[in-house]
Symmetry: D3
């Protein structure tokens, strides 16, 4: 039997007290994987703002580099904005890198003809819609629905969150024609099962979707050597150049 796949799940936020809970949550849904769930040291508590996600770029990417050095098979970027997904694929070598939005939509379109995304706040919709379009799935998007809750509320006010997610997911299915519901924030974890049971449609937990995709892509890497193409967009910068310009020093970049 194959070796366990080593997955690194990174919450790109500045607190760690959910890391263990996340780890055991993920472990329930993967096969033959080990999970390391981690977070950042100097970071905001949520990434509702693009500005916040820009701030954490160096530390997030350092974590991902370190994961490759440490022998992880995959890194998962734990935010539905998919921050720095392409940057991470460009920077890394054989490491699989996945992210929640790309992974969730990729599976959603195989389970139904249309999907809706349940987001925290209206503010998030335009950028996410751009991502939906970038990934190619715009014509399958039934709607965005907002529960008008902050990211932190999902775990802090679970009952309220569940009630609103249920309500908006039901509207998405009944009024907007959604056949699959995507929970459009990794902090909406823990809710999918109940919504799925209530509505009778697949409900995608984006944290888990990203981990399942990582598991699958690692299998492709291990057995078929299908890894990020390096001839174009994802060509990797040379270590020598990084050292020459002291970027390793300035940004504390882990170097092999």
């Amino acid at each position: 039997m194959a070796d366990a796949k080593k997955l690194m799940y990174i919450s790109p936020i500045g607190y760690s007290f959910l890391d263990d809970q996340i780890k055991y949550y993920i472990l329930k849904y993967v096969e033959n994987c080990t999970i390391c769930a981690t977070s950042l040291t100097k970071a905001p508590y949520h990434l509702e703002y693009l500005y916040y996600s820009a701030l954490i770029a160096p530390e997030l990417l350092n974590k991902i580099r370190q994961a490759e050095i440490d022998g992880f098979d995959a890194a998962i970027i734990g935010c539905f904005y998919d921050p720095f997904l392409y940057e991470a694929r460009e920077m890394s070598n054989k490491l699989v890198v996945t992210a929640p939005c790309e992974a969730s939509l990729s599976i959603a379109v195989k389970l139904g003809a249309t999907f809706s995304i349940i987001v925290g706040r209206r503010k998030m919709i335009p950028y996410m819609r751009e991502n939906v379009r970038k990934y190619g799935f715009e014509s399958k998007l039934a709607s965005f629905r907002s529960v008008e809750l902050g990211v932190l509320d999902f775990q802090d006010k679970k009952d309220l969150a569940e009630e609103r997610i249920l309500r908006e997911a039901e509207r998405a299915v009944k009024e907007d024609g959604a056949e699959v519901v995507v929970l459009g924030c990794t902090k909406e974890f823990g809710f999918f099962q109940k919504v799925q049971d209530n509505l009778g449609v697949p409900v995608i937990d984006s944290m888990i979707a990203a981990c399942k995709e990582a598991e699958y892509l690692v299998s492709c890497k291990n057995m078929l050597n299908w890894t990020t193409s390096k001839v174009g967009a994802y060509e990797t910068p040379k270590d020598s150049e990084i050292r020459q310009w002291k970027l390793d020093k300035y940004f504390h970049i882990p170097m092999q």
Copy 2:
């Protein structure tokens, strides 16, 4: 450890002498799966014509229904036109159904920013281009390249086929800007490794891509209960209706 996943690979063509070879080929690239490779009894030898693919619809779908009855986890439709993929998802219940084009493109866009598809003959391009567009990946398509060989030539004239695939794949990368190469016919199996080694870019064997995706979706089904949504496009016809109109008799449909 989880039970082995039971995959049924169906070549929608009228000869069976490659079935065993296909089975062992697939087995090299999956983890913890059993493979049944089968083909049809009354069918053309290739599906270069849409008309041919229409003819085999009933037998193909019967095979898929039988697979679900027999306890398979997934059925894979072995033709890059993805014939009757949506029909099969609609008709089945919890069965995973995958197909080569959808599966290949889904992984290709995660490995590179652009891809090219190497097809047998120019004739196939328009319909496949429509599929690329339907799946949402048109803006990532670098080119189609044709080797001008019939489907049967891929295994009958392997040296010629390999030479031409190599040539066109190289042109796709060098001239068209492709970062990933997709072998756009399931009968192009057995070539990906060499082309991949020669060109240094991921080369997708579409037969294997469909099986890997099946493996992954079965895992999602087993662990998350994510299965085809039945509230809209993929609502399943009622058995009672099928019996009432004697469709089961007319078309020898396997009924549970």
Copy 3:
């Protein structure tokens, strides 16, 4: 004066008792044509499911082949899903083949800047939307509106059907901005005149639209020799190949 054009209208369903009614209905709206209205022998009573439409592929295509052998000028596929339209164009030689959705939208966009489609059930929308997109008219689509009636209800419960079609068509015009209404099921025949009179906008009967387009394309064929291009997507399989693989025997294919 030119010879009468011979049109074959095929209801791809398993009952024939409406065939005569359909024939005389069509005859009211064409010029200098003869109509043969026929249906299938082994088929479901409606094609609400893609699966059903797949089952009838061989018999439908046999009917179309026979029509060409028998000297018909055109075959009309009588279902708004346009099942096997491209297959029929590929398989036939000089025969004109038309279908209701393609024909209806083609004329709708010349009569108004936007259109809405009135369908039977929500289930049908995603696949039809895909067709709208495939034909190129997505940006002119105002809305789909569902009357939530089964296909058979349109003729079985005419009063109810008319009431609902009127209601949804009116909403399409008033609320969705539709300038033309398309009745998105061939079984919605017999209603267009009243809806048109009531709403004051063109209302397209898709059965008739397909016949009118056939009449027009036959005229182009006869006078200009404009027939299906055979250099690419619609290249026809060789009879010799069909015979070699015994497809004619297996599928009772009419051969010339």
Copy 4:
């Protein structure tokens, strides 16, 4: 038998010596129609420039209004830019109005999966491409090919024109994957048959395509009362308003 359909073909240019030739040319390809071919009195000799087409707007639209008053069934705007097609549909009442580009593409996509357009000069391509996109057929466009001849050269230097059209049409089919060729200038009349015979693909004469479509739409008008929708984009201005502002005087508008 139905009355002959009365078609008015308007060359929106300032010379009339081809009118008769055009009339008899069209008559060869229509059924049961009468043709009036006319042109303008104060106009440029070609419409290669958008500016030129703007100048002739009032006279062209007057001609179309007069056609409706005189009992014509249809007016055909004889320029592949389709100048003022929507304006004419808005302004007229029950009159059918067609134009070469819209008509040619509408039939081209039914005869093949892709088409190329052979234009006079590169200058014309961007605006025509915009029209292709506006009509919804961009994804079926194989290429534009320019013969680098002025509009007037098509009839003045027939041999040269034919040679170049043949050459570029062949390249479109062989190199660009075109399955249908559209002659993208009404002044390219008289060439389609030879190109069609030589290449073995349908070659659309856009002048004739517009007339055939007119014939077909008149039939729909007469038998089904399908005419331009007046509830939105094509709402007609009131005669009273036109008179109140003396537009009839200023622009010599024919009023009923």
Copy 5:
């Protein structure tokens, strides 16, 4: 300091009594410009109909030609349909030509992720939507909202107009997700400030937007020599040809 930029604002309508008011209105919002506000002599009072806009083509384009001859730096076409914008760019030489819709959307997408357009009547939406698509901004369009007022009502019934604009703009922001509001008629001038203050989002006065863009493009012309490209779509007709065909006489075209 640079010379004042000379802008010519043309209301393509047949009354002049607002010209002065418009001139002083524009002057409040530009820097170092002189404004000439003019209108047409033989023209309708509004351009709600495409037909009306076609009628005024020659006089409008003459005014623009004259502006270039008279040494103006820019001409602004004062109607949100942007009538004859491309024609004017083609016909002129170094003159900057701008129009309200293009200019408004170009700035709107820099101020917010989405925008809505407030139009007079539903009738105008389809053509404007086509323009939005032509300019490339369709995916950023939140909605059209109609106040159901004629163009003339905006200045004749200011209170009613303001009330309705406020109401629909608010709905656009609250219900449709608009982040920027565009007043989609040049006659909606004078309202933007109040709506902007009330709603707290940028509200684009399209008349001013077109003037600001003209000011900006004139600066680019003066300092960088960035002017309309003459190698393709906007190639200018030769004066000699215009004279040869007496277009200058027929249409009273100002010639240099």
Copy 6:
């Protein structure tokens, strides 16, 4: 006369010796503006890699915040990838923020019907193509052309760079149908004039285009109060939250 507009041009790279040269270069092309040209302290020498652009996010955004605090009217992000443009607009208050790609394409589409972009290396194309699509101008893109030079080569090997830019720009115009040429790297400054003179088409210097757009948007801000909408995508994070999570400390964020 209005106060001079204060523009801050930021080269997001780690050397400053071109800053002065850039400042005086820009000054030649703006009116009534002051320019501050600056660069970063800890940064790579070019941003050919997305990874590099991620690294400099915090310092770049700090510079932009500081610019707003210091009373600048606009900040210009000096890289054709437009890194963190939306983040900067979200984070800032009334500050205008522009970037070269968005600004260049916005003006290019007003000068011609099509444009080509001359880039340094093929590697950059996919991400830039995504930006072209995001901004809405994909249908006007004639081609990308690569000179296969590193970003630093543009100023280090000026002769070679000029020769290649000229060659590829000419091909873009002659072979690809480009009517406008965009120099797709801010380090391609200093070349536009010669290429423009040689080819006779507008050639956009993207550094200058971004500054001209800034000048224009500042004028709109000053005179019309048109500034970034704060109701949706660009809602600004609260200072209190930034302080609460010590982001100001961690990232040395300038706070007012």
